[in-house]
C-alpha cells in the first residue's frame, strides 16, 4: 500500500491522474445528484455517446478532440433539454435517439477515414495514465468552473431539482438553471471521458448519488457524502489499478459497485424486524471493510521493480523484442510490453509498463499511430535512456487508405506512414543494427558479445531475405490475395509482389466493404489463384468467405507485430514466423 502511494505521489503521470481524477469525480457526483433525482440518469450516458461521436469526427478531421467535442456536447445537452421540455418526445426516447445517432455518425467517420485507431479506443475505454500537461490544465480549469458554479447556484439547483413547477411558478428562471445543469453535465462528460472512457463515464455520475441516497436524509448530506464516496472510489480504483495492473476506469466503477452493494446489504439487514438485525448489519459492514483492507493493503502487488544491474531492454511489440533478445542473449533482460496475443492497436500501458520504460536502459518502439502513448511517456523519462524508434531507422511508405491496396497518396493534411516497418527482413537488418548500437552504448562491458550476436543474427536475416527474393523470382504468379487487413506492405514492396487486400492498411475495421470482397472473389476465380491469406490472430472471416466462394485454400500470414501465446511459449521468433510466411507465399505463387 505505502509503496503504491509513494509511487502515485512521486511519478508525474500518476500524480496527474490523481489530480484530474479527483476533480472529475467531484464534478460528476455533484451533478449526479441533480440528474438522478430529476430522473435524468441516462442523460450522462446519452451525452457520453455524443462526446464519443464528436471525438471520432475530431480524430478523423485531425482537430483537437477536446475543443471540438465540448461545444457539440453542450449543444446536444441543450437539445435534449428542449426536446424534454416541449414534451413532444419522452426523455428516454430522445436520449436513445441522440446517443445512437451520434454513435453511428462516429463509427461512420472512423470507418471512412483512419479506422479504429488508438485515440478512438482511448476515448471509448479511457486512458488516464497517458494524459498530457495540456489535458491536465484543461481538465482542472473546467472542473473548477463546474464546482464553483454548482456551489454558487446550490439553492437554485435544489429548488429546480425538487420541484420545477413550484420554482417556475414563484418566479425562478427554471429553464436557465436547467440549461446550467445541462451545460455543466456536458463539460463533466467531456472532461471525464479522457479518463473513464465513453462507456464508463456515466457510472461516475450515477453510482455515488444512488449509494449516498440510500443512507442520507437531506439533500446537503447526499451531496457531501456523494462527493466523498466518489473521491474515495476513485482513489481506491487508482490504487487498485496501480497495484494489480488493472484498467483504471473499470477499477473505479468496480469500487462504486462494491460500495453500493455494501451499503445496500447494511441497510437491508438493519431494517429487518428481527432480533440481532443491528448486530448482523454491523457484521456485514465489518466484513465488507475487511475485504477492502485485505485487497488494498495486503494483496501482493504486481508493481514492477527493477532488481538487477544487468542491462534492461524494453520493447513495445514482438518483432523488436525478438531482435533485441537475439542481441542481448543472456547478458540482460528483454521485456515486451504487449502480452503475447494482445491486440496491438488497442493496447493500453499499465502503470507497471510505464515504470518499466522509466527504469530501462534501452527502449525500442515503432513510433506509429498505435504507439502514440509511447511519445507521451518518453516526454517524462530521463535523458539517459537510449531509445530506438524503428520508423526513423528505415525508409517509410505512406499508409494506404485505398481499398485493394494500390499505391495511392492519401489526401490527408498529415501523411500517415505505415508503421509495420519490420515486416521486410531487409528492414529487420537495419533495425537490428540500430538496436545493437543502442545496447552497446548502454553496456560497453559486453560489447564484443553483443557484436557477435548481432552479426550472427543479421546473417540469418540476410539469408531469409535471399530466400524470399528467390522464391518470388521463380514463381508462377506475382499476386497474393489477402482476405483481411494487410500489415505486410514492406514485405511485398521489397520483393515486388502485387497484393490485393480486403481492408486498407492495418485498420481494425469491423466490416469489409462488400464491393471489395466480391472483387477479390472475382480476381481469385479469374486467375485461379490457389491461396487466400488471413492474418494471424484475426478471425479470418473474410478470408473464409472468399475461400468458400472460390475453393482457394486459406493460409495465414504472420505480421510479427504480436505473437500467439503458444508460439511465444515455444520460443518461436521472427525468423521462424517469416519462414512460415515464405512457405505460405510460395504456395500461393505456384
Amino acid at each position: 500500500m505505502t509503496e503504491v502511494l509513494n509511487l502515485i505521489f512521486t511519478q508525474n503521470f500518476l500524480t496527474r491522474a490523481l489530480v484530474v481524477g479527483i476533480l472529475v469525480s467531484l464534478c460528476s457526483s455533484l451533478l449526479g445528484v441533480s440528474l438522478v433525482l430529476k430522473r435524468f440518469s441516462m442523460i450522462g450516458d446519452g451525452l457520453s455517446h455524443v462526446a464519443f461521436g464528436a471525438m471520432a469526427i475530431a480524430c478523423a478531421a485531425n482537430v483537437a478532440p477536446l475543443y471540438f467535442a465540448l461545444p457539440i456536447v453542450i449543444f446536444a445537452a441543450f437539445l435534449l433539454l428542449k426536446m424534454n421540455e416541449s414534451g413532444k418526445m419522452k426523455g428516454d426516447a430522445a436520449i436513445a435517439l441522440i446517443s445512437t445517432g451520434a454513435l453511428a455518425v462516429g463509427v461512420m467517420a472512423t470507418s471512412l477515414t483512419t479506422g479504429m485507431n488508438i485515440d478512438i479506443y482511448n476515448y471509448m475505454f479511457g486512458s488516464i495514465l497517458t494524459m498530457t500537461d495540456s489535458d491536465v490544465i484543461i481538465s482542472t480549469v473546467l472542473s473548477a468552473i463546474v464546482i464553483s458554479l454548482f456551489i454558487i447556484f446550490y439553492n437554485e439547483i435544489f429548488a429546480v431539482t425538487f420541484d420545477e413547477s413550484f420554482a417556475k411558478a414563484t418566479g425562478t428562471p427554471t429553464s436557465l438553471y436547467n440549461m446550467l445543469i445541462s451545460a455543466l453535465t456536458a463539460v463533466t462528460i467531456v472532461v471525464g471521458m479522457r479518463m473513464m472512457g465513453a462507456l464508463l463515464i456515466s457510472s461516475l455520475i450515477i453510482f455515488p448519488t444512488v449509494t449516498s441516497m440510500k443512507v442520507c436524509k437531506s439533500f446537503r448530506r447526499v451531496i457531501i457524502s456523494g462527493a466523498l464516496i466518489s473521491v474515495f472510489c476513485f482513489v481506491s480504483g487508482l490504487v487498485l489499478s496501480v497495484k494489480y495492473e488493472a484498467p483504471t476506469g473499470a477499477s473505479v466503477v468496480c469500487f462504486n459497485i462494491y460500495l453500493f452493494a455494501a451499503v445496500s446489504a447494511f441497510k437491508a439487514l438493519k431494517s429487518r424486524n428481527k432480533p440481532r438485525a443491528k448486530v448482523l448489519s454491523v457484521i456485514s459492514a465489518l466484513l465488507f471493510s475487511l475485504i477492502y483492507i485485505v485487497v488494498m493493503v495486503f494483496g501482493t502487488s504486481g508493481i514492477y521493480n527493477r532488481d538487477s544491474d544487468r542491462i534492461s531492454v524494453v520493447t513495445t511489440a514482438f518483432a523488436q523484442y525478438d531482435f533485441a533478445r537475439n542481441i542481448v542473449g543472456d547478458k540482460g533482460e528483454v521485456t515486451m510490453l504487449l502480452s503475447p496475443g494482445e491486440e496491438s492497436h488497442t493496447y493500453e500501458p499499465t502503470p507497471s509498463d510505464i515504470m518499466k520504460i522509466k527504469e530501462c536502459d534501452v527502449f525500442v518502439y515503432g513510433g506509429g499511430e498505435s504507439e502514440k502513448w509511447a511519445e507521451v511517456i518518453l516526454e517524462s523519462v530521463s535523458e539517459e535512456i537510449k531509445t530506438v524508434k524503428m520508423m526513423e531507422a528505415v525508409e517509410l511508405f505512406e499508409e494506404s487508405h485505398e481499398e485493394e491496396g494500390h499505391e495511392h497518396t492519401a489526401n490527408h493534411s498529415e501523411v500517415e506512414y505505415d508503421e509495420h516497418v519490420w515486416t521486410s527482413p531487409y528492414n529487420a537488418v537495419t533495425i537490428t543494427e540500430e538496436i545493437s548500437k543502442a545496447v552497446i552504448e548502454a553496456d560497453r562491458a559486453n560489447e564484443a558479445y553483443y557484436k557477435d550476436n548481432t552479426e550472427e543474427y543479421i546473417s540469418k536475416l540476410k539469408e531469409l531475405d535471399d530466400n524470399f527474393m528467390n522464391t518470388v523470382k521463380n514463381s508462377t504468379y506475382g499476386t497474393i490475395i489477402i482476405g483481411d487487413r494487410f500489415p505486410l506492405r514492406y514485405l511485398t514492396e521489397r520483393y515486388g509482389l502485387e497484393y490485393f487486400s480486403a481492408f486498407p492498411g492495418c485498420s481494425a475495421q469491423a466490416e469489409a466493404n462488400p464491393v471489395t470482397v466480391s472483387s477479390l472473389i472475382d480476381k481469385v476465380k479469374a486467375d485461379s489463384i490457389p491461396v487466400v491469406f488471413k492474418v494471424d490472430l484475426s478471425t479470418g472471416k473474410v478470408a473464409e468467405t472468399i475461400s468458400a466462394a472460390t475453393g482457394a485454400e486459406v493460409l495465414t500470414l504472420y505480421s510479427c507485430h504480436t505473437v500467439s501465446a503458444e508460439d511465444f511459449n515455444n520460443g518461436t521468433g521472427y525468423i521462424e514466423l517469416m519462414e512460415r510466411n515464405l512457405k505460405g507465399i510460395s504456395a500461393a505463387l505456384n
Partner: protein
C-alpha cells in the same frame, strides 16, 4: 380590492380550446374554490394565473400591485418527490429562492422566515426529518409552509388533499381556512371535493365548457350549474 381579474378569457390546451369566455375576479381575503369535471381546464387555468401559460385571448391580470413573487403555489406532488432525500428545513427554505437576489446563499432573515412558517403549520419539530419519510398529511404541510415562504398574499393550491385519508383531509381543510382567516392570505384552490368546497370556501368558480359559473357559495347553491352537475363531481 381585487387582486386578480379575469375578463372574457379563452384558454386552450394543445390547440384545443378548453375554456371560453371566462369572467371572474378574486378580492383580497377571498377563499375561491375552482371546481369542474376532469378536462374542464382547472390546471390550465391555474397555470395561466401563475403566468406559466399564455391565454389565447382576453384579459387575465394581477391587480393592485400583486406580483408572482407574492403568490405561494402548492402544486400536485410528482413521483420524483416520493424518494427525494431532502430535509423538511431544506424544502421549506427552497420557497425563499425567488426572494434572494443579492446574495448567493440564504440570509438569516430568510432562515427565520422558514422557521416562522414551520411554526405556523405545526411542523417545527419535523425540521430535520427526511421529507420522503413523512406521512402524506405532513408532506402537504411542509409544502404549504414552503408556499407561504414564497408568497404571503395569495396561495394557489392544486388539489391539496389528493391521496389523504378523511381525517387528515379534514385537518388540511381546517388548516387552509385558518391560513385564510387568521393570516389573511387569499386562497385559490382547485378541488375535486364539491362538498368541502361548498363548506369551506366563500366563492366558487365552476368550469364548464358550455358556460362557467362564478359567484359566492350562496349564489352557487341556488344556481342551475349546481343542480345540474352538483351530484356528479
Amino acid at each position: 380590492m381585487p387582486l386578480i381579474s379575469c375578463k372574457n378569457v379563452n384558454l386552450s390546451y394543445e390547440n384545443n380550446s378548453v375554456i371560453e369566455n371566462l369572467n371572474f375576479c378574486v378580492n383580497e381575503g377571498d377563499y375561491l374554490c375552482i371546481v369542474g369535471e376532469n378536462g374542464s381546464g382547472k390546471s390550465t387555468l391555474i397555470k395561466s394565473i401563475l403566468g406559466l401559460k399564455e391565454t389565447s385571448s382576453g384579459h387575465l391580470h394581477m391587480e393592485n400591485g400583486l406580483s408572482r413573487k407574492e403568490i405561494g403555489y402548492l402544486p400536485q406532488q410528482t413521483t420524483a418527490q416520493k424518494d427525494f432525500p431532502a430535509s423538511v428545513n431544506e424544502v421549506v427554505l427552497s420557497g425563499c429562492v425567488s426572494r434572494k437576489r443579492k446574495s448567493f446563499f440564504f440570509t438569516s432573515k430568510e432562515k427565520a422566515m422558514a422557521v416562522e412558517n414551520m411554526k405556523k403549520l405545526d411542523i417545527l419539530e419535523l425540521k430535520n426529518k427526511c421529507y420522503r419519510e413523512l406521512s402524506g398529511g405532513q408532506q402537504q404541510r411542509v409544502l404549504l409552509a414552503r408556499a407561504l415562504c414564497a408568497g404571503k398574499k395569495m396561495l394557489l393550491l392544486d388539489e391539496p388533499v389528493t391521496g389523504l385519508d378523511p381525517i387528515v383531509t379534514m385537518d388540511m381543510y381546517n388548516l387552509i381556512r385558518k391560513i385564510n382567516k387568521e393570516l389573511g392570505v387569499t386562497i385559490i384552490m382547485v378541488s375535486h371535493d364539491l362538498h368541502s368546497a361548498v363548506a369551506y370556501a366563500d366563492h366558487i368558480l365552476h368550469l364548464n365548457k358550455t358556460g362557467s359559473f362564478f359567484g359566492t357559495v350562496v349564489e352557487y347553491l341556488a344556481s342551475d350549474t349546481y343542480r345540474k352537475f352538483g351530484g356528479e363531481i
